[in-house]
């Protein structure tokens, strides 16, 4: 694997859109060509090299390309958008849409990420060693097709709209969430190791949600069924098993209605 190291040396006045900073875009390009890639600030396009120092070499394919981002990327959006393979390591906080619509490969953020992290994620691994804001692994506005695959891990806390319209894949939150976990979910698994204020599994059709901490306000549409032992992210524990949302439609399979499972650690 070849590595391209990019060090941010100049901060934008506003914010930068870096949707072309991906292994797919860098693969097969020289350092000069990578430096010429468009990065925009509002309506003005700049070459990447005008904001950052670029070193190293890309691989022939995305899978063989690793990108390391150093310096301050706090005001940069869309890093890793739609990538299919390869790796990105961001040693900084980063802004919105990190790993948006990603299909494969691996992104690691050693810092906090902003909102819309992992939006409509379809595959790969996206890890935030820090906090995220809102709309983590959620769908784009209006699209009933949200996250469909991959593993999205946030070690810290998150805000609202975790896995909205989720269909597949796994989201793991190490800390707390605010409200709206798995809203309109139709599949996939969400694990929150901390607490959630409320609205867990609201309007959820199908899927599995695990909460290790407390839920301050349970949805009335969740009904206790039994206690079960589950292994969650490698740790076994006993969970109170609820099904719901009883206020939502649910599919039937072989004559049996399928509900969303909500597991609350005991």
């Amino acid at each position: 694997m070849n590595t391209v190291t990019i060090t941010m040396v100049k901060q934008p006045q506003l914010f930068l859109e870096a949707d072309l900073v991906t292994p797919d875009q860098f693969a097969g390009k020289s350092i000069e060509a990578i430096g010429a890639i468009d990065i925009s600030e509002g309506k003005i396009k700049y070459p990447l090299a005008s904001f950052a120092k670029i070193e190293g070499a890309s691989g022939a394919t995305a899978a063989e390309t690793k990108i390391v981002l150093n310096g301050d990327w706090t005001r940069v959006k869309r890093v890793g958008q739609k990538m299919t393979a390869g790796e990105i390591i961001i040693n900084s906080n980063v802004d919105m849409y990190t790993g948006g619509w990603m299909i494969g490969g691996k992104i690691t953020v050693n810092g906090n990420a902003d909102s819309f992290t992992g939006i409509a994620m379809a595959g790969g691994e996206l890890t935030i060693n820090g906090n995220c804001l809102n709309h983590v692994g959620s769908a784009y506005r209006g699209d009933w097709r949200g996250m469909t695959g991959g593993v999205l891990r946030v070690t810290g806390n998150v805000g609202n709209d975790i896995g909205t319209f989720m269909r597949g894949g796994t989201i793991i939150v190490g800390g707390d969430a605010f409200i709206h976990v798995h809203t309109h979910g139709e599949g996939g698994t969400i694990i929150v190791k901390g607490n959630v204020e409320g609205r867990v599994g609201g309007q959820s059709v199908k899927g599995d949600v695990f909460v290790n901490g407390k839920i301050d306000f349970m949805m009335p549409g969740y009904k206790y069924v039994d206690d079960v032992e589950k292994e969650v992210d490698g740790v076994k524990a006993v969970y109170a098993h609820y099904i719901g949302d009883l206020g939502e439609r649910h599919p039937t399979s072989k004559g049996v209605q399928i509900f969303t499972n909500l597991y609350l650690k005991k």
């Binding site: 784009y140 506005r141 209006g142 699209d143």
Partner: protein, 573 residues
């Protein structure tokens, strides 16, 4: 003004019986003329097809439900919109395009006129605002009247003169072109969450049947001598087994004769027929079947009937119709988001996204039925190509439909390699029986130009290259003397017109839009009837008691109608 000469193209013009003859088309001061001076700009059409600008009889492009469709589908724009060209406005949207994209894309297809399929009278001003902001194409709109409280009451007592006076008032107030009827009676029933499925189901409270409504509207239309006939979307759309309702409805025309001074020969135009030709009792391949042959047998026999196809294009698209109860049914089938607007005293609208997935049996069957209609049609001057845009697919897919009709190879190729259940589709539809059939370019021109204009009563404005016509002319990269062996070229050529003139202004040159600011018209019918005090009183009464706007604010004010072109139809003369 500029002169042009389109030289040496193969002209196809059914209004003059020209079948590919090499000739020059001359344009001067916005019109087609016999000859021009030597300073005329030359468009070299050697090896190309020249047709009149296209005419679309039914498309949802301007108005409240189209806009609601745009508004509630941000995902129809995301990563699905082309990049803006530097000399044009932004183009947004895939299945429900923004108004700029609508005008540009129709021009790229070589179309000069589009009929907005449904205008709710109360919201007519909205339709006119969008028409104003849509570049290039001339437009008209049809007010929906098939569930209108005034008409339901007049038809109950068979008061055709009163119905005529009211319908005339509506055409004038809304600057509408023709009388549109959607799901007769059923959409009023939907005001209570109910529907009318057969032509004999009674409308709650108004106690009238769809059959009585349709017959009443046909009689009213002929009484008013309108350029177009009644334009009908019959009951029971989209449901398996509905072909019986369709045939029952079509038979209502028997005994009626067209009454107009515009050359129109039909008393009824049935729209998007594909959705109305279903047999069986479920969408499963074990039950569903095509009844297009049965329906087209009737259509072929009746001279006073025109239809448009409503072809499925196998895309993710957006359904939108005044058939409110159908959309409620659809959202329960696919569980997708559903928008509905019931409009006081008048009509309703429903909108649901829909994916015609070629990996499903039913989408393949619907696709086949749409093509069967054109292939079974004996008189191509009475059968027009549409997609009920965007219901069965986006309008900019028309060239793909042409390809499937012009090339049996392309069609059969899709069944074999593009449909997951191609065999089941062949077993349950007539598409296998029609596997050799192809249409000609001449027939294509009938189905997209001459026949359409005639049905609309607009033969003197559109669909023809006769001397004196407004110069809407399209030049395509298809050589009729050397037809392409690769059918994809049909789709490419008809989707990217080589040159396009709109009212004699060069709009597209070398496949690129060079001018989109030429004037465009809003065509409407100014209907004049004898004074009718009863109807005037009824109107005042209903506005006072039931409407929520003042009567004096209802009719669209002159300043809100863009470049109106009124066609006066005075029955008092």
């Amino acid at each position: 003004m500029t002169e042009y000469i389109i030289k040496n193209g193969c002209v196809i013009d059914p209004t003059q019986g020209i079948k590919g003859q090499k000739m020059d088309i001359c344009i001067k001061d916005g019109k087609i003329v016999d000859k021009v001076s030597k300073s005329a700009k030359v468009i070299d059409a050697t090896g190309k097809t020249v047709m009149a600008g296209g005419v679309d009889i039914h498309s949802h492009v301007a108005g409240p439900k189209v806009d609601a469709g745009r508004l509630f589908r941000p995902e129809d724009k995301l990563f699905k919109s082309p990049n803006r060209k530097s000399n044009l406005r932004m183009e947004m949207g895939y299945s429900v395009p923004s108004v700029s994209k609508t005008g540009y894309d129709y021009a790229r297809l070589g179309y000069g006129f589009v009929m907005e399929a449904a205008m709710p009278p109360l919201e007519a001003a909205h339709v006119h605002e969008e028409i104003r902001d849509t570049p290039i194409i001339d437009e008209a709109a049809m007010p929906v009247v098939g569930n209108n409280w005034f008409l339901l009451e007049y038809f109950k007592n068979h008061e055709i003169e009163n119905a005529g006076a009211y319908a005339s008032w509506i055409l004038n107030a809304t600057r509408g072109y023709a009388l549109k009827c959607v799901n007769p009676g059923g959409t009023e029933a939907w005001g209570w969450g109910l529907n009318c499925i057969t032509i004999h189901d009674k409308v709650p409270y108004f106690d009238i049947t769809p059959a009585e409504i349709v017959k009443g509207l046909i009689e009213t239309n002929e009484y008013l001598k309108l350029p177009h006939s009644l334009h009908l979307h019959s009951n029971n759309l989209g449901n398996p087994g509905n072909y019986t309702t369709t045939l029952d409805t079509l038979k209502l025309i028997e005994g009626y004769k067209p009454n107009n001074d515009f050359g129109r020969e039909q008393v009824l135009h049935h729209t998007h027929l594909q959705f109305h030709c279903y047999g069986g009792d479920s969408f499963k391949s074990s039950s569903f079947e095509s009844k297009s042959k049965e329906v087209m047998d009737y259509v072929n026999k009746q001279k006073n009937l025109t239809i448009d196809t409503g072809n499925v294009t196998l895309d993710e698209t957006t359904t939108m119709t005044a058939d409110g109860p159908f959309e409620y049914h659809l959202t329960h089938l696919n569980h997708l988001k559903w928008t509905n607007v019931d409009i006081e005293l008048e009509t309703a609208a429903g909108i649901v996204p829909f994916i015609y997935d070629p990996k499903t049996y039913i989408a393949g069957a619907q696709w086949a039925i749409g093509l069967e209609i054109s292939l079974f049609a004996k008189d191509k001057e009475r059968c027009f190509i549409t997609t009920d845009h965007p219901n069965a697919g986006p309008f900019w897919r028309y060239p793909r439909i042409y390809k499937w009709l012009l090339s049996a190879k392309a069609r059969n190729d899709l069944i074999d390699n593009g449909l997951k259940y191609g065999d089941k589709v062949r077993d349950t539809t007539y598409i296998g029986e029609l596997s050799d059939k192809e249409i000609s370019l001449y027939e294509l021109a009938q189905m997209t130009r001459s026949g359409v204009a005639k049905s609309l009563g607009l033969s003197n404005l559109y669909g023809s290259l006769k001397t004196g016509m407004n110069a809407n002319v399209a030049v395509y990269d298809i050589d009729p003397e050397n037809l392409p062996s690769d059918p994809e070229q049909y789709e490419t050529a008809f989707g990217n017109v080589f040159a396009f003139f709109k009212d004699g202004v060069l709009c597209i040159e070398d496949h690129e839009i060079v001018n989109y600011s030429m004037p465009k018209k809003t065509v409407w019918v100014n209907s004049i009837v004898p004074e009718n005090k009863q109807v005037e009183r009824d109107i005042r009464d209903k506005f006072l008691h039931s409407y929520t706007v003042d009567l004096e604010n209802y009719a669209v004010q002159e300043e809100h109608v863009h470049n109106p072109y009124a066609i006066k139809v005075d029955i008092t003369e």
